[in-house]
Each structure stands twice: as structure tokens, then as C-alpha cells.
């Protein structure tokens, strides 16, 4: 299946591992990603705070290019912020005529035009879950991730794309959990899975950001996670690159590798680690990945159903 692909600035360098692993797993799944030619930055969370119409025009140029180049009506963004901005701008352009009129004029100045609603913006996770599906992913698994304890971390913008509908639950998303399950991993019920990583707060007020990052790391450590799987370059950067700063600030000693869910898919598909961008993470994932075993973990003992009313379990029974 053919998809338009909007990598976003992070994927070019900082989150290169996400980019290479996305392309590596796309192949066996039969996905062809066609990168939007000459795309520009989506403005992250910064531009809209400065100037409204230019912020919408900036994003609209990408939508116009994607529609013009006509590779597919679906445009996939693996970065949460890019996904939100593309989707939100398209949504508000459809809703607000005055805004649309101004953005039209701005695009015209660059010889472009865009019909709002003609591009369907998807996050990569959405593509995997909704279009490809768990069965097709499972069919590609050659080396299951047995005994690897993974905390699935969604962050904010994929479960909560502003006031628009998400493909998953806004507070308790489960789609990545299910992908990791079919990969054979032991998926942790991670309570803070949809909490904020702090976004750009590391640059504005580091103290605020470090506390948010600490909570996420502590929660994963408390759940005995071997690693955290993410779907966003910003989340990966904050949890990975600021882990040392968290340890220094709070006197902790967290060493939790933060990897992209596509990297884990790649390992399970038996794609060599170097083609998946491993080694780019600051907290190395390699020692943890060695925990993967060839045998599936024994299923949890299920307590026999006792008849009658639920009663506290007595010590001699336990």
C-alpha cells in the first residue's frame, strides 16, 4: 500500500533511529512510503504561539505539497507533534472559513493551493493498527520478544489530538500494547502511559521538565520494565537524553533504555539491529535486548474460581 510520508525535522537527525526502523519494517508489511518532496518544518509547539496565520500557512504548505505530489490521499507522520499540527490545521481550515480564506491567499503567494480535507493525516501507529492490523504484524514475527518487559509510552498528542477524535482512547490507549503483545513481549500495564514528558519545558524551565520525566521513569522502574517503547521523537529525547540529569537532580540511578516501537517490531521481524538504528540511544538498549529468550514465558497461574461470595484470601490458602 502506498502512503505519503512526512518525516519532520526530528527524524532527519535526532530521531534517525525512528526513521530508519520505520522504513525497515514498512518493507515486509508491504507499505511504500513516498516522502513529500521539499517539506518544511511544522512549527512544533512554537510557531502558533507567535503568529497565527503564518503558523497555519507554514503547515498548509506541507498539505498542499502532499496533495500536489499526489502519491496517496493518506499522509503518515511518525512524530506526534507533526501529526497533530498537520491534522489540526486541516481540521480548522475545514471548520473556519475566514481562516481558510487567509491561508488560501498566503499559499497563493507561493503559487500553491490546498483543498482542506483532501489529505487524510495519520500517525504511524494509526497506520499500523488500523490499516495494517495486528494479524498482518503477527505474521511477520520471526523472533518473538519473549520475556522482554516493555512499558508502552504514548505521551500526549497521539491519544489526545486536540479536540479531534483519536483512533485510541485519550486516557487509556491500548493500541501499542496490542502491537507489543503480538510481537511476543511482556507488556506492562503502565499507569502513566499517556502522561506528558514535558515537551519543550526542558528549555523553558528545566526543573518542571525533570520532575515530569522522573515520574515516568520511576513508574516504569516500579513496574520492573526492561525498557520503554515510545512513538514520538520528543518523548524519546526527553526520557533518554535527560535521564542523567534526572539522576543527578533526584539522586536516582535509572538506566532505562528508551526505544521506538518500530525498533522493537524490527527485532521481532528479525531485521539486523544496525538497520534499525540501535546504538543511537544514550542509555544503551543492547544489554536489555539480550534478555530476550527463545521460549515463551510460562503463562501466569490463574487462580481457580471459588464458588460463593468473594472472601479475603487467608494465609494458609495462599
Amino acid at each position: 500500500m502506498k502512503y505519503g510520508y512526512y518525516p519532520g525535522c526530528s527524524m532527519e537527525k535526532n530521531a534517525r533511529a525512528y526513521h530508519t526502523s520505520t522504513l525497515a519494517v514498512a518493507k515486509p508489511l508491504g507499505i511504500e512510503f513516498v516522502e513529500v518532496d521539499d517539506w518544511n518544518c511544522c512549527g512544533a509547539t512554537e510557531y502558533i504561539a507567535i503568529n497565527k496565520i503564518p503558523a497555519y500557512a507554514l503547515v498548509s504548505r506541507n498539505l498542499a505539497l502532499a496533495a500536489d505530489q499526489n502519491s496517496s490521499e493518506n499522509l503518515v507522520a511518525p512524530c506526534s507533534a507533526c501529526y497533530l499540527n498537520l491534522k489540526k490545521v486541516d481540521h480548522y481550515l475545514q471548520e473556519n472559513e475566514e481562516l481558510r480564506g487567509k491561508v488560501d491567499l498566503a499559499l497563493e503567494a507561493g503559487g500553491l493551493s490546498y483543498e482542506p480535507g483532501s489529505i487524510n493525516v495519520q500517525h504511524l501507529l494509526e497506520t499500523m493498527v488500523v490499516d495494517i492490523g495486528f494479524d498482518a504484524i503477527k505474521a511477520q514475527v520471526k523472533k518473538p520478544l519473549y520475556n522482554l518487559r516493555v512499558a508502552p509510552y504514548y505521551g500526549c498528542l497521539v491519544p489526545r489530538p486536540a479536540s479531534m477524535e483519536s483512533f485510541d482512547d485519550p486516557e487509556h490507549p491500548t493500541s501499542m500494547d496490542k502491537i507489543l503483545e503480538v510481537l511476543g513481549a511482556t507488556v506492562i500495564d503502565y499507569p502513566l502511559k499517556a502522561q506528558c514528558c514535558g515537551g519543550h519545558m526542558t528549555q523553558i524551565s528545566e526543573e518542571t521538565a525533570l520532575e515530569l520525566i522522573r515520574r515516568l521513569l520511576k513508574n516504569a522502574a516500579d513496574c520492573e520494565a526492561d525498557l520503554i517503547a515510545t512513538l514520538c521523537p520528543m518523548c524519546q529525547l526527553n526520557l533518554d537524553a535527560y535521564q542523567d540529569a534526572v539522576n543527578a537532580q533526584f539522586g536516582t540511578n535509572y538506566k532505562i533504555p528508551i526505544v521506538y516501537f518500530t525498533q522493537l517490531m524490527g527485532i521481532a521481524f528479525d531485521i539486523p539491529a544496525e538497520e534499525l538504528g540501535f546504538g543511537k540511544e544514550i542509555v544503551p538498549a543492547k544489554p536489555v535486548l539480550e534478555k530476550i529468550t527463545n521460549e515463551a514465558p510460562k503463562p501466569k497461574r490463574i487462580r481457580e474460581k471459588k464458588t460463593g461470595l468473594p472472601m479475603p484470601i487467608m494465609a494458609e490458602e495462599g
Binding site: 532527519e12 518544518c41 524551565s205 515530569l212
Partner: protein, 194 residues
């Protein structure tokens, strides 16, 4: 301009709603329940909780609202927005407040951590390259406002990012930069009210 509902001259709340896309008029229906403040991850570090800020908006405390650090400490996590019983687009309102603070010239006074300048530095680089440039934005921002932390960055985390090949020394430029600049220039002419 008079308000659609009351035909009185526009108040602070009217101006904020007019500047915000989506169902911003729901702000009139805020019931001060505090769900937003309870959901806010950076609430403890804000001058005013989001709920307090909305009460202040309702009370026409324009200067206090526009000099509050609250919008600048919003991390855009959208928790308040999905939980608000009145479906107020709170995050979008925070963006509007940032813009209004800049337009009113107040933002130079919100110098707690130079949040507005961070956004400006970021966008300056995007307008000139078409792409964001992490090393550029971080170094320029920190050298200007936190010289000590720039040194810390360069020797600590920044160095690790560079050795891992995760940071560029030079920005990437898009091919058709004149086109982007023409679009942005036109948009800026139109950019005031919408």
C-alpha cells in the same frame, strides 16, 4: 464590534474567543470546576492555575492575565481539553494568550525563563531554513539567556548527542525557500486578527 450574545462592547473574554479557532465560545460557559487545574502536569509551577486564570479573564484582569507565566508553562498535553466538562479548547486558548501577550508588548516582562524568546528563536531559524535546527535553537537561546547552562549543555548532554550523531552542526535548508518565504510574508500581512 459588539458581542453576538449581549451586544455590549467586547470584553477580554470576547477578544480571546475571537482570536481562537474551534469551539472557543465555550469559555463563556466555564463552571470553575477546576478539572483543568487538577489535570495540569505543570500546574504547580504556574503563577495561576488554569481555573484561576479563567476567573481572572472573566474579571477583566487583562494585565495580570497577559503577564502571567501560566500560558508559557502549558506543555500542550491536552489533558484539560479532553476532560473539560464544558469542552473548552483550553490548550488553544493558552496559545491565544501567548500571542496576545506578545502583541500587547507584555511578554518582555514575563522574563521568568524567557519562554517567548525560545519560541521566537525557534521560528526565526525555521523561517530562514524551512527546517528546525536543534543545535542552533538551543545554543542561541541558552547563550543569550542562560550562558552557564549553555556551557553545561555543550559539555554534557549536547556532547553525548553529538557523539551519537544525533545533532547537526549546520542547518538543513529546503530547496524552495523563496516559496516558503513568500507564503510566510503574505501570511504575516494577514496575520493580525482572524
Amino acid at each position: 464590534m459588539t458581542d453576538t450574545f449581549t451586544s455590549r462592547p467586547p470584553t477580554l473574554i470576547d477578544k480571546i474567543i475571537a482570536e481562537t479557532p474551534g469551539k472557543a465560545s465555550n469559555l463563556y460557559t466555564c463552571i470553575q470546576c477546576g478539572t483543568c487545574s487538577g489535570s495540569c502536569p505543570s500546574g504547580p509551577d504556574m503563577d495561576h492555575s488554569p481555573r484561576t486564570l479563567f476567573a481572572m479573564i472573566d474579571s477583566e484582569m487583562e494585565e495580570e492575565v497577559l503577564t502571567s507565566n501560566t500560558p508559557w508553562f502549558c506543555v500542550s498535553c491536552y489533558y484539560c481539553m479532553v476532560r473539560c466538562p464544558q469542552e473548552i479548547p483550553i490548550t488553544d486558548i493558552m496559545y491565544t494568550l501567548k500571542r496576545m501577550a506578545i502583541e500587547a508588548g507584555y511578554f518582555r516582562e514575563i522574563d521568568k525563563d524567557k519562554a517567548p524568546e525560545f519560541s521566537e528563536t525557534f521560528m526565526d531559524l525555521v523561517e530562514n531554513n524551512g527546517r528546525s535546527f536543534e543545535m542552533g535553537v538551543v545554543m542561541r537561546h541558552h547563550l543569550r539567556y542562560h550562558p552557564l547552562s549553555a556551557v553545561k549543555l555543550a559539555t554534557g548532554m549536547g556532547l553525548k548527542m553529538i557523539t551519537k550523531g544525533r545533532m547537526d552542526f549546520i542547518p538543513t535548508k529546503i530547496k524552495n525557500l523563496p516559496q516558503l518565504k513568500a507564503i510566510i510574508k503574505k501570511a504575516k500581512e494577514l496575520g493580525g486578527a482572524a
